[in-house]
């Protein structure tokens, strides 16, 4: 197992890009900043399963994002959160 690049509590930005191939990052989360909630295991990379075997595997993290970061007109409390699984190659370090 390769070591995890990101640690629980670290702030990360989800990459804002749109590869013209299957990928598992919804557009609403692209470019958004959140905090690593949990470090998960290694899994086949979705982009590499199309005419491939998903290798090399990538680590998945659960990222917690405040709802107010996602939606300007969010109707709820400041404490409401969205949590989403993101592969390591979609995450960037941020302040």
């Amino acid at each position: 197992m390769t070591d995890a690049v990101f640690q629980v509590g670290q702030r990360v930005r989800i990459a804002d890009r749109t590869p013209r191939v299957h990928h598992r990052v919804p557009s609403y989360a692209k470019g958004r900043v959140g905090v690593i909630e949990r470090v998960c295991g290694l899994h086949g990379e979705p982009e590499k399963f199309i005419r491939g075997n998903g290798e090399p595997k990538q680590r998945i993290y659960r990222v917690r994002i405040p709802q107010s970061e996602l939606w300007q007109d969010y109707e709820g409390t400041e404490r409401d959160k969205l949590e989403i699984e993101i592969f390591e190659h979609w995450l960037e370090e941020t302040e």
């Binding site: 295991g41 899994h43 409401d80 969205l82």
Partner: protein
Amino acid sequence: MSDHDHDHARTFQADHAEPTSEGARVGLALRELLIEAGHYTPEEERAVIAAMQGASPRDGGRIVARAWTDPAYKERLLANGAAAIRELGYELEPYEFTVMENDDNTHNVIVCTLCSCYPRSLLGMSPAWYKSASYRSRVVREPRKVLAEFGVELTDDIDVRVHDSTAELRYMVLPQRPKRTEGWSEEELAALITRDSLIGTQRAFRTE
């Protein structure tokens, strides 16, 4: 096509007509071709269907009831859902399994916006609304409004956590044990649990 009889691959029964939509015909035709070419047999198909039909929210209910009555089990379930679920004898597809706990100030709800990922091997077929564009579109953006449509009214002292299941994890909500159920048996508690309470579109239980 070969001219021999295709009955072994057919789905038609006189009293239960086949679907005639274009998309369904693509599916029926593809199925017949794959069986005809020997990629799988009708017996294998029946076995897969029976296995998938065997899973139901009752199994989720047993897991929740165990967690409500055994604090050490609950701890293991929250730390490593898949291992704790297998501990009770359930077979799971090889996903990581994450159990999210509700409490007085937290409500969890699960969605898969990109397709409709759902813990099928444990909870059985997902509800139609879970796969609908409305639910997938809206619950991430206006969870409180969507939950209200299910009859779940959340006050501002309860935080909402929406979990978008986008990859290799599967989720289940661990609902809060209702008050006034002290002394209930694990079996009685398990009977309270519904499919929707495991997805997070139900919060309270009828204990009367």
